[in-house]
């Protein structure tokens, strides 16, 4: 076609300069995957160093224990990852985990029969909390960190009122067995982790709804014009986060054969850290579950090391907070490079800026 000829001759520069990037992204290893592999590599290295310093560390049993205890974070951070993918954040995960554990412990009270209805009730009530978050964010336009923090505070108040603060009943034995039994020598939690990794990845990266989440996180304005169901998917993502937190809470209750009102708290910040370490963008649109998974494993291993080194809770916090900041910094460097590469041709400012609010100084 004649026209194609005109175009090519008009812009030779585009043809040459775009190609290296093309090759990079087309290859099987997407940047997110590379991040995930790097994190797993870092985890291995960290373990090896510990092993070198302390030969008793790093037995097969210990590794199995690390993986087993990582399941709470692996599951909980999946929901957090979906919410962050949308550019939001869920600060209610810790409280929802506790509530999930409390409900399942309270309802089963040591009986396996009760599980049949106790599990659905637990899951549904926690999903309901997530849906409230989603409704507030989607329809009331409350900033996610405030909405989820407010809901968490309120839900904690309700739980406190109902339980009078002191509840540590026994969980159904089946749940405890689930967390300790093995199939062909492999602890069941590790198998569950594998399942959730595969299932979660498929759901996030291979489904139409997952694709839409990426699109919304990438640009809400464009998603609205394209007609994506933004509100429904936002509510869905927060609901999913509630679901994941409750599953994590049930498993945690099974593992520790009881529940307390603050048992989920230690998992809130790590769930955010896992997502950020995994290479997801806190502004949304980027990241996958493999990365989050790698981040969760990394944090669990680190947590075990901290325990082995018998560092206090304070140091644990300092390290965790520091990791979030470092992970963010590493990411921002990448984005920065990309931003330079993708600056628009004319660099025009946003034209609708001028129309704006006012107040007097």
């Amino acid at each position: 076609m004649e026209i194609a000829g005109t175009r090519l001759s008009n812009r030779p520069d585009m043809e040459n300069t775009a190609s290296p990037k093309v090759r990079f992204t087309v290859s099987a290893l997407r940047p997110e995957t590379i991040t995930a592999l790097l994190v797993l590599l870092a985890t291995t290295l960290m373990m090896l160093i510990m092993k070198a310093l302390n030969p008793t560390f790093g037995s097969l049993e210990q590794i199995a224990a690390i993986l087993t205890t990582s399941i709470f974070l692996v599951v909980a951070s999946y929901g957090q990852g979906l919410v962050i993918l949308l550019g939001g954040i869920d600060l209610s995960i810790g409280v929802v985990m506790s509530i999930g554990g409390m409900i399942i412990a309270g309802l089963t009270n040591g009986s396996n029969q009760a599980l049949v209805w106790a599990i659905p009730v637990t899951l549904l009530s926690c999903i309901a909390i997530g849906l409230v978050n989603g409704l507030g964010v989607a329809f009331l336009k409350v900033p996610p960190f405030i909405m989820t923090l407010a809901v968490a505070t309120a839900a904690f108040g309700v739980a406190l009122g109902l339980t009078a603060g002191s509840s540590q009943r026994t969980v159904a034995p089946a749940l405890q067995q689930l967390m300790s039994a093995r199939i062909t020598g492999i602890p069941i939690p590790i198998l569950l982790i594998g399942c959730s990794l595969i299932g979660g990845s498929l759901l996030q990266s291979r489904t139409a709804e997952g694709r839409k989440l990426y699109a919304i996180g990438s640009s809400v304005a464009a998603a609205r014009i394209v007609g994506l169901p933004i509100e429904a998917l936002t509510i869905g993502a927060y609901g999913m986060s509630g679901l994941c937190a409750s599953v994590a809470g049930i498993l945690l209750a099974g593992y520790s054969s009881g529940a307390t009102l603050d048992m989920g708290d230690p998992y809130l910040m790590p769930s955010i850290a896992a997502v950020v370490i995994g290479g997801a963008s806190v502004t949304g649109g980027k990241g996958n579950y493999l990365g989050t998974f790698a981040g969760a494993i990394f944090l669990s291993a680190l947590s075990t090391i901290i325990t082995v080194l018998s560092l206090s809770q304070g140091w644990r916090n300092i390290i965790q907070g520091g990791i979030i900041v470092v992970a963010l910094t590493l990411q921002t460097k990448q984005w920065y490079l990309q931003k330079i590469a993708n600056r628009p041709l004319t660099g025009q400012g946003s034209p609708n800026r001028a129309l704006s609010q006012n107040s007097k100084v």
Partner: protein, 511 residues
């Protein structure tokens, strides 16, 4: 005032071999030019030709990759805007760098308004000073304490210009200074007085008549290169235009072969529609028709498009699709009615920055490629390739991330996406903005083909030529209302421009 040498032999500003690229796109390539004291030099070029980049380099916002700039014989490498200003280079920006929540006085003296002994900004003093300055620059009837956000666009632009002139610059950059100003003589008067002081002015504009009025010399950029640097009196308008566009203006539009279906009910019709920013709009769009929309900046065209796309609720009147009334509650319901918007802001409302080009194309219809909600790669690939071929988008651009693509290819992506949903009506808001010439051709062809095959389009463009050559009919908007309807036979850029500027001209068949 310092007395300056007004001889035009030694340039006040000289740029040699300036080079700037943003990732894949070259914004400026090997640009050399000079600016002499006491002259106004016109800088012309299409959108994306590199004018804004040049302004940003000269005013210290962007650092060039290569090249040298000398100001009055000394090396000039401003690190930031304050740096440039102290060296005597001042800029009135196209985007207007005013803060709406601050008063005019505060804005004029940013970033360092005068302070008293204890570091407080002396509001009364700067307001008095502002009063005098505004008077000197013939801006009347406005109090210095007014918040800039409360001013009309025209007044804001005046304040922006006054602020740039305030610092007695040796070089003044005016970037599209008349975009919102009706009274151009006001600006021309100020320019005269600056020239008398020996200031050199670089005047960036789209409007050739302004360049003819003010300048003796003009520089034309195209795709980042200087393609013309000549005295204006030697050039005809047509010569300059063809330099700007890299083509001769007349022969590039596809031949019009309208296929308007008069018998079918209108694809889209508005009856006395009003909403925020839209007043009493009535029109009918028939099958196979391309309905143009001409308007100056901010005359409600954007709001009208948003109403039709379901983004802004209708307050009064009605909208009909295929003869039946519809309520466009959201872009979703507009899509369901077959109306698809190609939005104004490609970067923020058009593309999904984090997705691949292919995913950008398939996203609205992704469910069609999915079974049990799982995406089938082959089906998606077929769909995307079908869409891409309709807009002549090379398939090797499909799999990389969309932000690796040029503006033109991004726009093609958005068109492919829009066509894939089988729309009945396309709302095209300035689809050729910031797009290279080759892509423009393809966009024209795509729109024509779409109409020929029974689609209908509402087409707004800032390029009047496009409206004249592409549309079957053209509406003109002024102050949020449709003020005229021009038939194809009568379409000329002059007529559209004067109607859009609010002049009352008797046109046959006014809506």
């Amino acid at each position: 005032m310092v007395k300056r040498d007004v001889s035009s032999l030694t340039p006040i500003l000289q740029a040699t071999g300036v080079h700037k690229r943003y990732g894949a796109t070259i914004a400026l390539e090997d640009l050399s030019f000079s600016l002499y004291p006491g002259e106004v030099c016109g800088l012309l070029g299409e959108n994306g030709a590199g004018k804004s980049t040049l302004v940003k380099i000269l005013s210290g916002i962007v650092v060039p990759d290569a090249g040298e700039i000398a100001l009055e014989g000394q090396a000039y490498q401003p690190h930031n805007i304050v740096d440039a200003r102290t060296r005597g280079v001042s800029t009135a920006f196209q985007e207007l760098s005013l803060i709406p929540t601050l008063s005019i006085a505060a804005n004029l003296f940013l970033p360092k308004p005068k302070v008293n002994a204890i570091g407080l900004v002396t509001i009364r003093a700067i307001e008095e000073l502002t009063e005098t300055i505004l008077k000197q620059h013939a801006v009347f009837d406005v109090s210095p304490s007014t918040l800039v956000g409360d001013l009309s666009l025209g007044l804001r632009q005046r304040i922006e210009i006054v602020r740039a002139m305030l610092r007695e610059p040796r070089v003044l950059l005016l970037d599209e200074p008349t975009a919102a100003i009706a009274d151009r003589e006001w600006l021309f008067g100020l320019i005269e007085s600056l020239l008398a002081r020996g200031t050199a002015i670089l005047y960036i504009t789209h409007r050739l008549d302004e360049v003819r009025r003010l300048c003796k010399r003009c520089v034309v950029l195209r795709n980042g290169r200087k393609v013309l640097d000549a005295a204006l009196e030697d050039m005809t308008d047509d010569q300059i235009f063809s330099k700007m566009a890299g083509r001769s203006v007349v022969e590039t539009y596809p031949i019009r072969e309208s296929n308007i279906d008069e018998s079918a009910p209108p694809v889209l019709a508005a009856h006395k529609a009003s909403a925020a920013g839209v007043n009493d709009v009535t029109f009918r769009l028939r099958r196979g028709e391309i309905l143009g929309l001409a308007a100056l900046e901010g005359q409600g065209q954007s709001s009208l498009f948003r109403v039709l796309a379901g983004l802004v609720p209708l307050k009064g009147g009605s909208i009909e699709v295929n003869g039946g009334p519809v309520r466009l509650r959201s872009p979703r319901s507009a899509r369901a009615a077959g109306i698809i918007l190609v939005p104004e802001e490609r970067k923020t409302e058009g593309i999904f920055n984090d997705l691949s080009t292919a995913a950008n194309i398939s996203i609205p219809v992704i469910n069609q490629a999915a079974r049990f909600n799982f995406i089938r790669n082959r089906k998606e690939r077929q769909m995307v390739e079908r869409g891409a071929s309709r807009v002549d988008l090379n398939s090797r651009y499909l799999w990389p991330n969309i932000n690796a693509l040029s503006g033109g290819n991004q726009q093609k992506t958005i068109l492919a996406r829009s066509l894939l949903a089988n729309p009945k009506c396309l709302l095209l808001f300035d689809p050729t903005r910031g797009v290279d010439v080759g892509t423009k051709q393809i966009i024209y062809q795509v729109i024509r083909k779409f109409a020929r095959e029974g689609g209908a389009a509402v087409f707004y463009s800032t390029e009047l030529d496009e409206l004249v050559h592409l549309c079957d009919r053209c509406l003109v908007m002024y102050r949020n209302a449709i003020v005229a309807e021009v038939r194809q036979e009568e379409l000329t850029p002059h007529l559209l421009l004067s109607l859009a500027a609010g002049h009352k001209i008797d046109v046959h068949g006014t809506a």
